[in-house]
Symmetry: C2
Subunit: 601 residues, 2 copies
């Protein structure tokens, strides 16, 4: 049997010799051995060529489907099985590269199960899919169509082939032997557009490098240029815990409520619209998931060193099921909370447009949309908008920054692992409460009921009270079973929602860190080149200055992450415990009611 | 392979053609087909002959051991499995005969799991066994040895072969064709001793008939004779709910505490002695399990229509394990409570001797023992000691009695089924709390712990409080897991202990009802014989009068059962609920402690 692999993600060939892959597509492999992170194979259309090894999963016979990221709603027939050994956690630890995978998979041996997406595995109803995705999915096959909509989606999300570090190293070794000829492999329009060829500091060969794609490299090399309006300025200030984003002087919140089904094309198409009410305007607007998704794409493109919160998972089928809609609404609310809490994201034009443009004003919406899409201050140019402190502490110590970033990297890895584990535990715990715990308490209830029914045969008037009390106790246990089954909605679900959101952030940080690391490397490189007389001091100082800006932004972002993390986990743990306490109090109350029935027996 | 069967109970051959069986012995069967309830086979000593089919279980290859009546301490490796379908309950419903099985099996497709006996399946350490059983088991092979100790143990316990109803019917059909020639098959010494041959009312052919073995038949036929001392008189009075035993004018309780290991033969043998303090003497005595067992044998022999509470199960191995001793003590305390609560049992000489004879006075003990063993007012003669009301209501309506007894029979069947189910449910529920529930809560604790450990890597002073609070929450969930595992001891174990005691009573009643039914049948028979001119009216009236006494006693016993049942189940349900409430309050308190840790974060 020929060696086969399944594509884990879409991949579009951009260079000769590469072939495109579509997610789930099965390919024949020419060899299982990758060549610097690339595999050779034949795709389902018969094209033969290279593709990143990390984008596929080799299929070991018999073809085993990866388990769907099931929430407890999908209870296996087996019911109440013991937890499998945590083998599922292993791959994360085994990954040799720190951040070799695309965002959806970074650090997750199985994809995280965000906001209710796992209630139903995707079954590919294209009609439903189209509606929410008519800007993207249905035109995915047309070359360029995707990139016109989300020119940098992959880059900002961190699509990165393995071996990029090796390739990068090689490019440094073959210093000077290549020019700007690789800009064809550089998909970033602005980063690429404003770039000037530099013979002295090498450009990264690997087009999957986030450092390159984000525009970080171009910026550090001084290739970015653009006019920064005052309104676009972003300030990093020195706070008590180091660099932080200047706070939003006009903080606001935004509620997301009343998801309602709406139709268009005389009812031929239907979709869900959510009512948004931003506190700073008080004006409600209605937005669809595709609007959120458009916004996300804009922001992910624009801000290379900011962790844009991930949206709740897309879902193809069952979009109108109440459970799903309610979960998505909650997910969007969490997302919105993180958006509003972020000083940079909250104030950005595209987001403000999204929050404030009247839903009925189609023209204004399109205008704002076009403006956001034409924004020049994205990627490399985004870094131009950042202003950092001057005076004492204005230049960060490179080594200290590196150590802080390394510390944070270790932290995110550990937090990711524990979030994954907690998510798994919470999921299992919820499942068992819905199935096993409920069943156990209700079996106790049922047995008491049988006893009271048997006792009713006793023909003794004096035991009627006892029989009734036991019957009441039976009902109490039945109710307690239901309480157990209902409880995860109250306490574990919010925990899992929070974890999903944070798993999204944790998946963002590898790229953010990578940009910062790339900048640091450039500084070191430039210093060496100066020592070797290959670079002018002034140029090297420029590089260092720009790297300083990236460092400030990165540390500010890390700081922000910790701040909201402590805030969120504190309040979520409190909420969880409060709900658990309420639950056990309800159980106790039920039992007390039952106990009192025996008083008069 | 030859057909084989395993003996479920001891059986002693008493007639030519029968062979003896020992419990657990494996036999070769000549045929699987029984002949009127008898099977033919070869026992382990090579003797070939007949034995009651109900005393053995045919072994289907592969030889499958019946599952031990496992309490949750014996957790299968599989752990937290879903409850098997209640197939285990079926056989009870399928049994064609109402009471065809010996007491240990009556109504129980698998034996009930009384007082802790299931902590360890019996492994037959004879040394241990000997010690508690030196009066019986070790001499079981000597003919007559067992019967000298417990001449009527089987009878009172209700050892009954299948088909006895059929045999009984046949004996009625072949009326007059047989005389007293079957007294050889009549093992009851007193019933048999005082018996006069009666040609007009047939004696029951089946020596397994409880009606015969209890002496009920002999009494009804007027064959019992003996001098009833005033002190031996037992009164049935008419209470608000019908006939009842006259209350004990000097009610008392008796505590059973401090089980202590004692030795004899210079430490070669050791045993457990329990301290008994009866409230009416206040004098403590020490008794061993074998003393309880001796007493039980006496009482079961003496009182044919009284439900003598069963003792907690014998256990061969591990008798000195604390768990077992504590369980046995609790079981004996329950037993003692039921003994003291019964007006007849509480006042009987053998019990009083047991309660009051100083443990140190070996001579007095033996004297009392001998006296009890020589008691003549057992079996048939016991009925002579019963005096029933005179005046209005002094003769019970036969049909009404029959309907009441039938109603009670239906009640016991249903109660037995529900007790079996509740016991099974409680056992499973306990097992799941000890295993699954504990594990689930502790996994949550562990995941929180991992999260707090990850958070400790964050280098942020301001999150130390949160990390500590999460660590505390982790410990709280760990503790809650332990609370779940400890809980069954507090609430489910007592429920199961109570159920075991009642399952014992329920196993007694078939025989009690059988005696009453046998008496009723005799009355009907005698009436018919009078009509047919085959019996003198006076004789028939005597039969009816004696049957009336049995009816009074039976109804009094039924009444007493209901009274203590309502009392016991009320208090046990209250205790159960109180313990459950306390448990959930403890859990709530733990969670509240954890919640408060976030106040200062």
């Amino acid at each position: 049997m020929a060696l086969r692999a399944r594509a884990l993600y879409d991949f579009r060939s951009e260079n000769p010799g590469e072939i495109s892959l579509r997610e789930h597509e099965v390919l024949s492999l020419c060899s299982e051995q990758d060549i610097e992170g690339w595999l050779e194979g034949v795709n389902s259309r018969g094209d033969r060529g290279l593709f990143p090894a990390s984008y596929v999963q080799v299929i070991r016979a018999p073809a085993a489907e990866p388990p769907p990221p099931a929430r407890y709603a999908n209870v296996p027939a087996g019911g109440f099985e013991p937890l499998p050994p945590p083998a599922a956690f292993k791959p994360a630890a085994q990954q040799p590269e720190p951040f070799p995978l695309p965002p959806a998979a970074a650090g997750y041996p199985f994809p995280p199960a965000p906001y209710g997406g796992s209630y139903q595995p995707s079954q590919g109803s294209d009609d439903d899919w189209d509606d929410d995705w008519d800007d993207s999915s249905t035109v995915a096959d047309e070359p360029g169509a995707l990139s016109s909509s989300y020119p940098d989606y992959e880059a900002a999300g961190g699509g990165a082939a393995p071996g990029r570090y090796r390739l990068s190293t090689r490019s440094e070794l073959s210093l000077g032997s290549r020019g700007g000829g690789h800009s064809a492999g550089h998909p970033h329009p602005s980063g690429g557009g404003g770039a000037k060829s530099s013979a002295t500091v090498s450009r990264n060969l690997n087009r999957f490098s986030t450092f390159v794609k984000s525009g970080g490299e171009a910026f550090v090399l001084g290739e970015a240029s653009g006019f920064v309006k005052d309104g676009d300025k972003l300030c990093v200030v020195l706070g008590p815990h180091g660099p932080e984003w200047q706070e939003n002087p006009y903080p606001f919140q935004c509620s997301i409520e009343d998801p309602t089904k709406q139709t268009k094309f005389k009812g031929m198409k239907s979709y869900i619209a959510y009512k948004l009410v931003p506190s700073h305007t008080g004006q409600q607007v209605h937005r669809r998931y595709k609007h959120f998704d458009w916004l996300y794409g804009r922001l992910a493109e624009k801000f290379p060193v900011i962790s844009v919160p991930h949206l709740p998972e897309k879902q193809a089928t069952g979009r109108f099921e109440e459970d799903f809609i309610s979960k998505r609404r909650k997910g969007l609310a969490w997302w919105m909370d993180h958006m509003c809490s972020h000083p940079v994201l909250a104030q950005c034009d595209a987001f403000q447009h999204f929050l404030t443009c009247p839903s009925t004003d189609e023209k204004a919406w399109k205008q704002g949309k076009r403006k956001a899409e034409k924004d020049e201050m994205v990627g490399a140019n985004f870094f131009l908008t950042i202003s950092v402190p001057t005076g004492p502490g204005a230049v960060l110590d490179l080594q200290e920054v590196e150590s802080q970033v390394d510390g944070f990297k270790a932290f995110t890895k550990k937090m990711d692992e524990s979030a994954l584990q907690l998510n798994h535990t919470a999921n299992e715990f919820a499942r068992k409460q819905v199935t096993g715990f409920k069943k156990e308490y209700q079996k106790v209830g049922h047995s008491f009921k049988c006893l009271s029914q048997a006792f009713e045969l006793d023909q003794q008037a004096f035991s009627a009270g006892l029989n009734q009390a036991i019957a009441f106790t039976a009902e109490a246990y039945d109710t307690i079973g239901d309480l157990f089954a209902d409880q995860p909605r109250q306490d574990l679900d919010p925990v899992m929602d929070l974890l999903a959101l944070y798993q999204g952030h944790l998946a963002n940080f590898p790229d953010i860190i990578h940009v910062q690391k790339g900048a640091l490397t450039k500084v070191k490189e430039s210093k060496r080149h100066v020592e070797e007389g290959k670079m002018e001091l002034q140029k090297a100082e420029g590089i260092q200055e720009r790297c300083n800006i990236i460092s400030f932004a990165t540390l500010a972002e890390i700081n922000h992450f910790h701040k909201i993390r402590v805030r969120d986990f504190k309040s979520q743990m409190q909420h969880f415990l409060q709900q658990q306490i309420l639950f056990f109090q309800k159980v106790t109350q039920k039992l007390e009611e039952a106990l009192h029935k025996y008083d008069s027996v």
